[in-house]
Protein backbone atom coordinates (compact mmCIF):
# COMPACT_ATOMS: atom_id res chain seq x y z
CA UNK A 1 0.00 0.00 0.00
CA UNK A 2 1.78 3.08 -1.20
CA UNK A 3 0.66 6.23 0.51
CA UNK A 4 0.68 9.73 -0.90
CA UNK A 5 1.96 11.13 2.37
CA UNK A 6 5.70 11.41 2.70
CA UNK A 7 6.91 9.79 5.90
CA UNK A 8 10.26 11.50 5.65
CA UNK A 9 10.76 14.22 3.06
CA UNK A 10 13.97 15.25 1.34
CA UNK A 11 14.59 17.95 3.93
CA UNK A 12 14.62 15.32 6.67
CA UNK A 13 11.25 16.32 8.14
CA UNK A 14 8.37 14.04 9.01
CA UNK A 15 4.67 14.59 8.28
CA UNK A 16 4.16 16.47 11.55
CA UNK A 17 7.28 18.61 11.18
CA UNK A 18 9.53 16.56 13.44
CA UNK A 19 13.04 15.39 12.70
CA UNK A 20 13.94 11.72 12.43
CA UNK A 21 14.86 11.15 16.08
CA UNK A 22 12.66 13.84 17.59
CA UNK A 23 10.11 12.71 20.14
CA UNK A 24 6.67 14.21 20.50
CA UNK A 25 5.84 16.57 23.32
CA UNK A 26 5.42 14.68 26.60
CA UNK A 27 3.23 16.05 29.36
CA UNK A 28 2.76 14.25 32.63
CA UNK A 29 0.06 15.00 35.19
CA UNK A 30 0.38 13.20 38.50
CA UNK A 31 -2.45 14.92 40.37
CA UNK A 32 -5.00 12.97 42.38
CA UNK A 33 -7.81 11.39 40.35
CA UNK A 34 -10.85 10.41 42.40
CA UNK A 35 -10.11 7.94 45.15
CA UNK A 36 -7.25 6.13 43.45
CA UNK A 37 -4.13 5.44 45.51
CA UNK A 38 -2.05 6.65 42.63
CA UNK A 39 -2.84 7.98 39.20
CA UNK A 40 -1.17 9.53 36.22
CA UNK A 41 -2.06 11.02 32.88
CA UNK A 42 0.56 11.00 30.19
CA UNK A 43 0.36 12.52 26.75
CA UNK A 44 2.74 11.68 23.94
CA UNK A 45 1.70 14.20 21.32
CA UNK A 46 -1.95 13.42 20.69
CA UNK A 47 -1.98 10.08 22.50
CA UNK A 48 -3.36 10.39 26.00
CA UNK A 49 -3.70 7.68 28.62
CA UNK A 50 -4.99 7.79 32.20
CA UNK A 51 -3.98 5.10 34.68
CA UNK A 52 -5.38 4.66 38.18
CA UNK A 53 -3.79 2.29 40.64
CA UNK A 54 -5.54 0.84 43.67
CA UNK A 55 -3.77 -1.19 46.24
CA UNK A 56 -2.09 -3.18 47.54
CA UNK A 57 -5.42 -4.17 49.01
CA UNK A 58 -7.42 -7.25 49.85
CA UNK A 59 -8.51 -9.11 46.75
CA UNK A 60 -12.19 -8.89 45.93
CA UNK A 61 -12.26 -12.55 45.04
CA UNK A 62 -10.63 -14.94 47.45
CA UNK A 63 -9.51 -17.31 44.70
CA UNK A 64 -7.36 -14.62 43.12
CA UNK A 65 -4.98 -14.35 46.05
CA UNK A 66 -1.51 -15.84 45.75
CA UNK A 67 0.05 -17.02 48.98
CA UNK A 68 3.55 -15.62 48.47
CA UNK A 69 3.11 -12.46 46.42
CA UNK A 70 0.62 -9.83 45.32
CA UNK A 71 -1.65 -10.47 42.40
CA UNK A 72 -1.65 -7.81 39.69
CA UNK A 73 -4.91 -7.13 37.95
CA UNK A 74 -4.90 -4.99 34.83
CA UNK A 75 -8.01 -3.70 33.12
CA UNK A 76 -7.83 -1.71 29.93
CA UNK A 77 -10.60 0.39 28.55
CA UNK A 78 -10.33 2.19 25.25
CA UNK A 79 -12.71 5.12 25.05
CA UNK A 80 -15.01 5.03 22.04
CA UNK A 81 -14.09 8.63 21.22
CA UNK A 82 -10.34 8.01 21.33
CA UNK A 83 -9.95 7.52 17.59
CA UNK A 84 -11.06 9.63 14.68
CA UNK A 85 -13.69 7.09 13.84
CA UNK A 86 -15.99 6.56 16.80
CA UNK A 87 -15.91 2.88 17.64
CA UNK A 88 -17.05 0.94 20.64
CA UNK A 89 -14.94 -2.03 21.55
CA UNK A 90 -16.45 -4.80 23.60
CA UNK A 91 -14.78 -5.98 26.78
CA UNK A 92 -14.04 -9.36 25.27
CA UNK A 93 -12.03 -7.84 22.41
CA UNK A 94 -8.88 -9.90 21.81
CA UNK A 95 -6.73 -6.84 21.16
CA UNK A 96 -7.70 -5.28 24.47
CA UNK A 97 -7.16 -8.43 26.49
CA UNK A 98 -3.79 -8.84 24.81
CA UNK A 99 -2.87 -5.27 25.76
CA UNK A 100 -3.91 -5.92 29.36
CA UNK A 101 -1.93 -9.13 29.61
CA UNK A 102 1.08 -7.40 28.06
CA UNK A 103 0.98 -4.67 30.70
CA UNK A 104 0.54 -7.26 33.41
CA UNK A 105 3.48 -9.39 32.36
CA UNK A 106 5.66 -6.32 31.89
CA UNK A 107 5.12 -5.15 35.44
CA UNK A 108 5.07 -8.50 37.21
CA UNK A 109 8.86 -8.76 37.44
CA UNK A 110 9.26 -5.02 38.15
CA UNK A 111 6.87 -4.57 41.07
CA UNK A 112 8.22 -6.06 44.29
CA UNK A 113 5.17 -8.25 44.65
CA UNK A 114 6.73 -10.58 47.20
CA UNK A 115 6.47 -7.98 49.97
CA UNK A 116 2.66 -7.94 49.69
CA UNK A 117 1.57 -11.57 49.93
CA UNK A 118 -2.14 -12.37 49.61
CA UNK A 119 -3.03 -8.93 48.32
CA UNK A 120 -4.00 -7.41 45.04
CA UNK A 121 -2.85 -4.41 43.03
CA UNK A 122 -5.41 -3.13 40.55
CA UNK A 123 -4.26 -1.16 37.54
CA UNK A 124 -6.99 0.52 35.50
CA UNK A 125 -5.87 1.85 32.16
CA UNK A 126 -8.13 4.29 30.36
CA UNK A 127 -7.15 5.29 26.84
CA UNK A 128 -8.45 8.79 26.19
CA UNK A 129 -6.88 9.63 22.85
CA UNK A 130 -5.02 7.53 20.33
CA UNK A 131 -2.47 8.72 17.85
CA UNK A 132 0.14 5.99 17.67
CA UNK A 133 2.31 4.57 20.40
CA UNK A 134 -0.58 3.23 22.43
CA UNK A 135 1.38 0.49 24.19
CA UNK A 136 4.23 2.89 24.86
CA UNK A 137 1.91 5.43 26.51
CA UNK A 138 0.14 2.71 28.55
CA UNK A 139 3.41 1.37 29.94
CA UNK A 140 4.91 4.77 30.74
CA UNK A 141 1.70 5.90 32.38
CA UNK A 142 1.43 2.71 34.46
CA UNK A 143 5.00 3.19 35.73
CA UNK A 144 4.15 6.74 36.82
CA UNK A 145 0.88 5.75 38.44
CA UNK A 146 2.57 2.94 40.38
CA UNK A 147 5.31 5.31 41.53
CA UNK A 148 2.67 7.83 42.50
CA UNK A 149 0.83 5.19 44.52
CA UNK A 150 4.03 4.48 46.43
CA UNK A 151 4.29 0.90 45.25
CA UNK A 152 7.93 -0.25 45.35
CA UNK A 153 9.38 -0.86 41.90
CA UNK A 154 12.75 -2.24 40.90
CA UNK A 155 13.16 0.48 38.35
CA UNK A 156 11.25 2.72 35.97
CA UNK A 157 9.93 1.04 32.85
CA UNK A 158 10.26 3.36 29.89
CA UNK A 159 8.69 2.41 26.59
CA UNK A 160 9.21 3.87 23.15
CA UNK A 161 8.18 3.07 19.59
CA UNK A 162 10.64 3.10 16.74
CA UNK A 163 10.16 2.49 13.06
CA UNK A 164 12.16 2.23 9.88
CA UNK A 165 11.32 4.18 6.77
CA UNK A 166 13.17 2.41 3.95
CA UNK A 167 16.59 2.63 5.60
CA UNK A 168 16.24 5.57 7.99
CA UNK A 169 15.07 4.89 11.52
CA UNK A 170 12.48 7.18 13.10
CA UNK A 171 11.26 7.41 16.69
CA UNK A 172 7.91 7.89 18.43
CA UNK A 173 5.50 7.19 15.57
CA UNK A 174 2.07 8.65 15.02
CA UNK A 175 -0.86 6.55 13.77
CA UNK A 176 -0.17 7.72 10.26
CA UNK A 177 3.40 6.47 10.42
CA UNK A 178 2.48 3.29 12.26
CA UNK A 179 0.11 2.30 9.49
CA UNK A 180 2.76 2.74 6.89
CA UNK A 181 6.12 1.54 8.18
CA UNK A 182 7.39 -1.39 10.27
CA UNK A 183 7.62 -0.50 13.93
CA UNK A 184 8.99 -1.91 17.15
CA UNK A 185 7.92 -1.12 20.71
CA UNK A 186 10.63 -1.50 23.31
CA UNK A 187 10.27 -1.14 27.07
CA UNK A 188 13.54 -0.77 28.92
CA UNK A 189 14.75 -0.34 32.46
CA UNK A 190 17.12 2.64 32.48
CA UNK A 191 19.25 1.60 35.44
CA UNK A 192 20.42 -1.67 33.92
CA UNK A 193 19.70 -0.83 30.29
CA UNK A 194 17.90 -4.17 29.94
CA UNK A 195 14.69 -4.61 28.04
CA UNK A 196 11.56 -6.17 29.50
CA UNK A 197 9.38 -5.94 26.44
CA UNK A 198 9.96 -6.02 22.71
CA UNK A 199 7.13 -6.36 20.25
CA UNK A 200 7.07 -6.07 16.52
CA UNK A 201 4.19 -6.97 14.27
CA UNK A 202 5.34 -5.98 10.84
CA UNK A 203 7.94 -7.39 8.51
CA UNK A 204 11.46 -6.05 8.93
CA UNK A 205 14.90 -7.28 7.99
CA UNK A 206 16.91 -8.71 10.90
CA UNK A 207 19.78 -6.22 10.45
CA UNK A 208 17.44 -3.22 10.37
CA UNK A 209 15.76 -4.55 13.47
CA UNK A 210 19.00 -4.52 15.38
CA UNK A 211 19.62 -0.89 14.43
CA UNK A 212 16.23 0.40 15.52
CA UNK A 213 16.26 -1.78 18.62
CA UNK A 214 19.47 -0.21 19.89
CA UNK A 215 18.25 3.26 19.02
CA UNK A 216 15.01 2.68 20.94
CA UNK A 217 16.97 1.67 24.03
CA UNK A 218 18.80 5.02 23.89
CA UNK A 219 15.54 6.89 23.40
CA UNK A 220 14.14 5.14 26.47
CA UNK A 221 16.71 6.97 28.57
CA UNK A 222 15.39 10.32 27.35
CA UNK A 223 11.85 9.33 28.30
CA UNK A 224 13.17 8.24 31.68
CA UNK A 225 14.55 11.73 32.30
CA UNK A 226 11.13 13.26 31.67
CA UNK A 227 9.37 10.76 33.88
CA UNK A 228 11.85 11.15 36.68
CA UNK A 229 11.59 14.93 36.76
CA UNK A 230 7.78 14.71 36.79
CA UNK A 231 7.85 12.37 39.79
CA UNK A 232 10.31 14.62 41.61
CA UNK A 233 8.23 17.74 40.97
CA UNK A 234 5.15 16.03 42.29
CA UNK A 235 6.97 14.90 45.42
CA UNK A 236 8.38 18.41 45.92
CA UNK A 237 4.91 19.90 45.61
CA UNK A 238 3.47 17.40 48.11
CA UNK A 239 6.22 18.00 50.63
CA UNK A 240 5.79 21.76 50.38
CA UNK A 241 2.03 21.43 50.77
CA UNK A 242 2.50 19.37 53.91
CA UNK A 243 4.21 22.38 55.46
CA UNK A 244 7.63 20.83 55.77
CA UNK A 245 9.01 22.75 52.87
CA UNK A 246 11.77 24.36 54.91
CA UNK A 247 12.95 21.05 56.28
CA UNK A 248 13.06 19.61 52.80
CA UNK A 249 15.14 22.53 51.61
CA UNK A 250 17.78 21.73 54.22
CA UNK A 251 17.96 18.07 53.38
CA UNK A 252 17.29 18.81 49.74
CA UNK A 253 20.90 18.62 48.75
CA UNK A 254 21.32 15.26 50.34
CA UNK A 255 18.18 14.00 48.64
CA UNK A 256 19.54 15.25 45.36
CA UNK A 257 22.68 13.21 45.91
CA UNK A 258 20.65 10.11 46.61
CA UNK A 259 18.36 10.63 43.64
CA UNK A 260 21.31 10.70 41.29
CA UNK A 261 21.50 6.97 41.39
CA UNK A 262 17.97 6.58 40.11
Amino acid sequence: MASRIEILNDGGFRSDGRRQYELRDITIDLSQQGHADGSAIITHGLTQVLVSVFGPREAKQRRETIHDRANINVEVNIAAFSTGERRKRSRGDKRISELASTIKSTFEPVILTSIYPRSQIDIFVQVLQQDGGLLQACINCTTLALANAGIPLLDFVCAITGGVHSTSPVLDLTTLEENDIPHVTVAMMPRTGKVTLVTMETRLHADRFEEIFRLAIDAGKVIHKEMKSAVRHRTDALVTAMGSGSRFAVSGEMAEEQMKDY
Binding site: T192, T196, V198, A206
Partner: protein, 289 residues
Amino acid sequence: MRPPSPSIPEREFLLKALEQSLRLDGRAPLQSRTPTLTFGPELGWVECALGKTRVLAYVSAKIVKPTPERPFEGTITIHSEISPMASREYEVGRPSDEEVTITRMLDKVLRRSDAVDKESLCILAGERVWALRLTIHCLADAGNMLDCACLAGVVALKHFRRPEVEVIGDEVIVHAPTERAPVPLSIHHSPFCFTFAFFAPSPSSQSVPITILDPVHLEQRLSNGSISIALNAQREICVLQKLGGVPLGAEEVVGVVQVAVGKAKEMERLVESALKEDWEGRKGGVEVR
Protein backbone atom coordinates in the same frame (compact mmCIF):
# COMPACT_ATOMS: atom_id res chain seq x y z
CA MET B 1 -9.53 -26.37 38.26
CA ARG B 2 -5.97 -25.67 37.21
CA PRO B 3 -3.48 -28.51 37.53
CA PRO B 4 -1.04 -28.16 40.41
CA SER B 5 2.23 -26.38 39.74
CA PRO B 6 5.38 -28.52 39.38
CA SER B 7 6.78 -29.88 42.62
CA ILE B 8 9.89 -28.45 44.30
CA PRO B 9 12.15 -31.47 43.53
CA GLU B 10 11.04 -31.34 39.88
CA ARG B 11 11.90 -27.69 39.68
CA GLU B 12 15.26 -28.01 41.39
CA PHE B 13 16.27 -30.96 39.26
CA LEU B 14 15.44 -29.12 36.08
CA LEU B 15 17.24 -25.93 37.11
CA LYS B 16 20.34 -27.77 38.32
CA ALA B 17 20.51 -29.69 35.06
CA LEU B 18 20.06 -26.51 33.03
CA GLU B 19 22.96 -24.87 34.81
CA GLN B 20 25.10 -27.66 33.38
CA SER B 21 23.49 -27.15 29.94
CA LEU B 22 21.54 -30.39 30.21
CA ARG B 23 17.89 -30.77 29.36
CA LEU B 24 15.38 -33.37 30.43
CA ASP B 25 15.04 -34.88 26.96
CA GLY B 26 18.77 -34.84 26.21
CA ARG B 27 18.75 -31.94 23.80
CA ALA B 28 21.31 -29.15 23.70
CA PRO B 29 19.99 -25.78 24.96
CA LEU B 30 19.55 -24.33 21.49
CA GLN B 31 18.40 -27.50 19.77
CA SER B 32 14.78 -27.84 18.71
CA ARG B 33 12.78 -30.99 18.31
CA THR B 34 12.57 -32.05 14.67
CA PRO B 35 9.02 -31.58 13.42
CA THR B 36 7.20 -34.45 11.75
CA LEU B 37 4.80 -33.48 8.99
CA THR B 38 2.05 -35.86 7.96
CA PHE B 39 -0.08 -34.99 4.97
CA GLY B 40 -3.62 -36.20 4.62
CA PRO B 41 -5.34 -37.46 1.50
CA GLU B 42 -6.78 -34.02 0.80
CA LEU B 43 -4.70 -31.04 -0.27
CA GLY B 44 -4.27 -28.60 2.59
CA TRP B 45 -4.57 -31.18 5.36
CA VAL B 46 -1.45 -31.31 7.51
CA GLU B 47 -0.65 -32.75 10.86
CA CYS B 48 2.45 -31.38 12.50
CA ALA B 49 4.09 -33.05 15.47
CA LEU B 50 6.83 -31.52 17.58
CA GLY B 51 7.69 -34.28 20.01
CA LYS B 52 4.40 -35.05 21.69
CA THR B 53 2.83 -31.73 20.75
CA ARG B 54 0.48 -32.29 17.86
CA VAL B 55 -1.48 -29.80 15.79
CA LEU B 56 -3.76 -30.38 12.83
CA ALA B 57 -4.26 -27.69 10.21
CA TYR B 58 -6.76 -27.72 7.39
CA VAL B 59 -7.33 -25.19 4.65
CA SER B 60 -10.55 -24.89 2.71
CA ALA B 61 -11.71 -22.29 0.22
CA LYS B 62 -15.01 -20.99 -1.01
CA ILE B 63 -16.12 -18.23 -3.33
CA VAL B 64 -17.77 -15.19 -1.73
CA LYS B 65 -18.59 -11.57 -2.49
CA PRO B 66 -15.82 -9.26 -1.24
CA THR B 67 -16.38 -6.42 1.19
CA PRO B 68 -16.99 -3.04 -0.46
CA GLU B 69 -13.84 -1.59 1.20
CA ARG B 70 -11.54 -4.15 -0.39
CA PRO B 71 -13.07 -5.24 -3.68
CA PHE B 72 -9.79 -6.64 -5.06
CA GLU B 73 -8.76 -8.81 -2.13
CA GLY B 74 -9.68 -12.28 -0.99
CA THR B 75 -9.88 -13.10 2.69
CA ILE B 76 -8.20 -15.47 5.09
CA THR B 77 -9.78 -16.40 8.38
CA ILE B 78 -8.04 -18.40 11.04
CA HIS B 79 -10.04 -20.53 13.39
CA SER B 80 -7.90 -21.87 16.16
CA GLU B 81 -9.44 -24.18 18.64
CA ILE B 82 -7.65 -24.87 21.85
CA SER B 83 -9.84 -27.33 23.66
CA PRO B 84 -9.27 -29.13 26.96
CA MET B 85 -8.36 -32.08 24.76
CA ALA B 86 -4.89 -30.59 24.24
CA SER B 87 -3.98 -30.15 27.86
CA ARG B 88 -5.58 -29.94 31.26
CA GLU B 89 -4.68 -26.29 31.37
CA TYR B 90 -7.22 -25.20 28.80
CA GLU B 91 -10.78 -24.68 29.80
CA VAL B 92 -13.96 -24.32 27.83
CA GLY B 93 -15.47 -20.87 27.88
CA ARG B 94 -13.53 -17.71 28.48
CA PRO B 95 -10.01 -18.05 27.05
CA SER B 96 -7.07 -17.63 29.40
CA ASP B 97 -4.29 -15.10 28.76
CA GLU B 98 -2.11 -17.83 27.31
CA GLU B 99 -4.77 -18.91 24.84
CA VAL B 100 -5.35 -15.31 23.76
CA THR B 101 -1.61 -14.92 23.18
CA ILE B 102 -1.46 -18.04 21.01
CA THR B 103 -4.49 -17.03 18.96
CA ARG B 104 -3.27 -13.47 18.44
CA MET B 105 0.20 -14.66 17.57
CA LEU B 106 -1.17 -17.09 14.96
CA ASP B 107 -3.15 -14.27 13.45
CA LYS B 108 -0.09 -12.03 13.29
CA VAL B 109 2.22 -14.68 11.88
CA LEU B 110 -0.07 -16.21 9.30
CA ARG B 111 -2.39 -13.40 8.29
CA ARG B 112 -0.97 -10.01 9.10
CA SER B 113 2.53 -10.78 7.86
CA ASP B 114 0.99 -10.98 4.36
CA ALA B 115 2.28 -14.49 3.75
CA VAL B 116 -0.46 -15.16 1.19
CA ASP B 117 -0.99 -12.75 -1.66
CA LYS B 118 -4.58 -11.65 -1.04
CA GLU B 119 -4.96 -9.91 -4.38
CA SER B 120 -4.29 -13.14 -6.21
CA LEU B 121 -7.40 -14.54 -4.53
CA CYS B 122 -9.57 -12.13 -6.49
CA ILE B 123 -11.60 -13.69 -9.29
CA LEU B 124 -13.87 -10.88 -10.45
CA ALA B 125 -13.25 -7.45 -8.86
CA GLY B 126 -16.03 -6.51 -6.48
CA GLU B 127 -18.01 -9.59 -7.36
CA ARG B 128 -16.21 -12.83 -6.56
CA VAL B 129 -13.15 -13.60 -4.44
CA TRP B 130 -11.79 -16.67 -2.69
CA ALA B 131 -12.30 -16.84 1.05
CA LEU B 132 -9.74 -19.12 2.66
CA ARG B 133 -10.46 -20.70 5.97
CA LEU B 134 -7.61 -22.12 8.00
CA THR B 135 -8.70 -24.30 10.86
CA ILE B 136 -6.14 -25.19 13.46
CA HIS B 137 -6.93 -27.95 15.91
CA CYS B 138 -4.57 -28.40 18.81
CA LEU B 139 -4.58 -32.09 19.52
CA ALA B 140 -1.98 -32.36 22.26
CA ASP B 141 0.12 -29.81 24.09
CA ALA B 142 3.44 -31.08 25.38
CA GLY B 143 5.00 -27.64 25.26
CA ASN B 144 5.64 -24.99 22.62
CA MET B 145 2.29 -25.31 20.93
CA LEU B 146 2.66 -21.90 19.31
CA ASP B 147 5.60 -22.92 17.11
CA CYS B 148 3.89 -26.16 16.20
CA ALA B 149 0.63 -24.41 15.28
CA CYS B 150 2.41 -21.79 13.18
CA LEU B 151 4.35 -24.45 11.32
CA ALA B 152 1.22 -26.50 10.69
CA GLY B 153 -0.58 -23.40 9.41
CA VAL B 154 2.19 -22.35 7.04
CA VAL B 155 2.68 -25.85 5.66
CA ALA B 156 -1.07 -26.28 5.17
CA LEU B 157 -1.21 -23.06 3.14
CA LYS B 158 1.73 -24.20 1.03
CA HIS B 159 0.19 -27.64 0.55
CA PHE B 160 -3.25 -26.38 -0.40
CA ARG B 161 -4.43 -26.13 -4.00
CA ARG B 162 -7.53 -24.25 -5.07
CA PRO B 163 -9.63 -25.21 -8.07
CA GLU B 164 -8.83 -23.49 -11.33
CA VAL B 165 -11.34 -20.81 -12.30
CA GLU B 166 -12.03 -19.23 -15.64
CA VAL B 167 -13.74 -15.91 -16.20
CA ILE B 168 -15.61 -15.36 -19.44
CA GLY B 169 -17.25 -11.95 -19.43
CA ASP B 170 -19.21 -11.87 -16.20
CA GLU B 171 -19.42 -15.60 -15.89
CA VAL B 172 -17.18 -17.59 -13.57
CA ILE B 173 -16.49 -21.23 -14.36
CA VAL B 174 -14.98 -23.37 -11.62
CA HIS B 175 -13.17 -26.38 -13.00
CA ALA B 176 -13.28 -29.64 -11.09
CA PRO B 177 -9.88 -31.06 -10.06
CA THR B 178 -10.40 -33.95 -12.48
CA GLU B 179 -10.87 -31.54 -15.35
CA ARG B 180 -8.00 -29.08 -14.75
CA ALA B 181 -5.16 -29.26 -12.28
CA PRO B 182 -5.81 -27.19 -9.14
CA VAL B 183 -3.50 -24.21 -8.64
CA PRO B 184 -1.36 -23.44 -5.60
CA LEU B 185 -1.83 -20.22 -3.62
CA SER B 186 0.58 -17.44 -4.41
CA ILE B 187 2.70 -17.20 -1.29
CA HIS B 188 5.03 -14.26 -0.70
CA HIS B 189 7.12 -15.82 2.04
CA SER B 190 6.78 -18.50 4.67
CA PRO B 191 7.27 -17.35 8.25
CA PHE B 192 8.36 -19.85 10.88
CA CYS B 193 7.96 -19.22 14.57
CA PHE B 194 10.61 -19.99 17.19
CA THR B 195 10.08 -19.71 20.92
CA PHE B 196 12.93 -19.31 23.36
CA ALA B 197 12.46 -19.69 27.10
CA PHE B 198 14.60 -17.90 29.67
CA PHE B 199 15.59 -18.95 33.13
CA ALA B 200 16.77 -16.24 35.50
CA PRO B 201 20.23 -17.05 36.81
CA SER B 202 20.63 -17.94 40.45
CA PRO B 203 22.14 -14.89 42.21
CA SER B 204 25.33 -16.76 43.10
CA SER B 205 26.26 -18.09 39.67
CA GLN B 206 26.67 -16.22 36.38
CA SER B 207 24.62 -13.15 35.57
CA VAL B 208 23.36 -14.13 32.12
CA PRO B 209 19.95 -15.84 31.90
CA ILE B 210 19.95 -19.38 30.53
CA THR B 211 18.33 -19.52 27.10
CA ILE B 212 16.72 -22.61 25.63
CA LEU B 213 14.99 -23.12 22.31
CA ASP B 214 11.70 -24.98 21.90
CA PRO B 215 10.77 -25.56 25.57
CA VAL B 216 8.79 -28.61 26.59
CA HIS B 217 5.80 -28.26 28.87
CA LEU B 218 7.65 -28.41 32.17
CA GLU B 219 10.33 -26.02 30.96
CA GLN B 220 7.63 -23.63 29.80
CA ARG B 221 5.87 -23.70 33.15
CA LEU B 222 9.05 -23.08 35.11
CA SER B 223 10.64 -20.47 32.84
CA ASN B 224 10.94 -16.82 33.83
CA GLY B 225 9.93 -15.44 30.47
CA SER B 226 10.01 -16.22 26.81
CA ILE B 227 10.50 -14.61 23.45
CA SER B 228 8.77 -15.67 20.25
CA ILE B 229 10.24 -14.75 16.92
CA ALA B 230 8.57 -15.42 13.60
CA LEU B 231 10.80 -14.97 10.60
CA ASN B 232 11.38 -16.30 7.11
CA ALA B 233 14.40 -17.73 5.37
CA GLN B 234 15.09 -14.30 3.81
CA ARG B 235 16.13 -12.98 7.23
CA GLU B 236 13.00 -10.87 7.59
CA ILE B 237 11.48 -10.81 11.05
CA CYS B 238 7.69 -10.84 10.81
CA VAL B 239 6.72 -10.87 14.46
CA LEU B 240 8.89 -10.53 17.51
CA GLN B 241 7.31 -10.75 20.89
CA LYS B 242 8.81 -10.62 24.30
CA LEU B 243 6.13 -9.75 26.78
CA GLY B 244 7.58 -9.06 30.19
CA GLY B 245 9.44 -11.78 31.99
CA VAL B 246 13.09 -11.63 32.95
CA PRO B 247 14.78 -8.46 31.60
CA LEU B 248 17.36 -9.08 28.87
CA GLY B 249 20.30 -7.08 27.65
CA ALA B 250 20.38 -5.84 24.06
CA GLU B 251 23.13 -8.33 23.18
CA GLU B 252 21.05 -11.27 24.37
CA VAL B 253 18.04 -10.23 22.27
CA VAL B 254 20.19 -9.72 19.19
CA GLY B 255 21.91 -13.08 19.83
CA VAL B 256 18.59 -14.88 20.01
CA VAL B 257 17.51 -13.26 16.72
CA GLN B 258 20.69 -14.54 15.07
CA VAL B 259 20.00 -18.09 16.28
CA ALA B 260 16.44 -17.86 14.91
CA VAL B 261 17.76 -16.67 11.54
CA GLY B 262 19.83 -19.84 11.22
CA LYS B 263 16.96 -22.05 12.37
CA ALA B 264 14.56 -20.50 9.85
CA LYS B 265 16.79 -21.51 6.97
CA GLU B 266 16.96 -25.08 8.25
CA MET B 267 13.21 -25.17 8.70
CA GLU B 268 12.58 -23.89 5.17
CA ARG B 269 14.70 -26.74 3.76
CA LEU B 270 12.92 -29.31 5.89
CA VAL B 271 9.46 -28.08 4.85
CA GLU B 272 10.35 -27.90 1.17
CA SER B 273 11.70 -31.45 1.15
CA ALA B 274 8.65 -32.76 3.01
CA LEU B 275 6.32 -31.07 0.53
CA LYS B 276 8.33 -32.35 -2.43
CA GLU B 277 8.22 -35.89 -1.10
CA ASP B 278 4.47 -35.63 -0.76
CA TRP B 279 4.07 -34.48 -4.40
CA GLU B 280 6.14 -37.41 -5.58
CA GLY B 281 3.72 -39.74 -3.84
CA ARG B 282 0.72 -38.04 -5.44
CA LYS B 283 1.93 -38.20 -9.05
CA GLY B 284 -0.05 -41.35 -9.75
CA GLY B 285 -3.45 -39.77 -9.07
CA VAL B 286 -4.43 -36.22 -9.89
CA GLU B 287 -2.01 -34.01 -11.74
CA VAL B 288 -0.52 -31.46 -9.39
CA ARG B 289 1.37 -28.36 -10.30
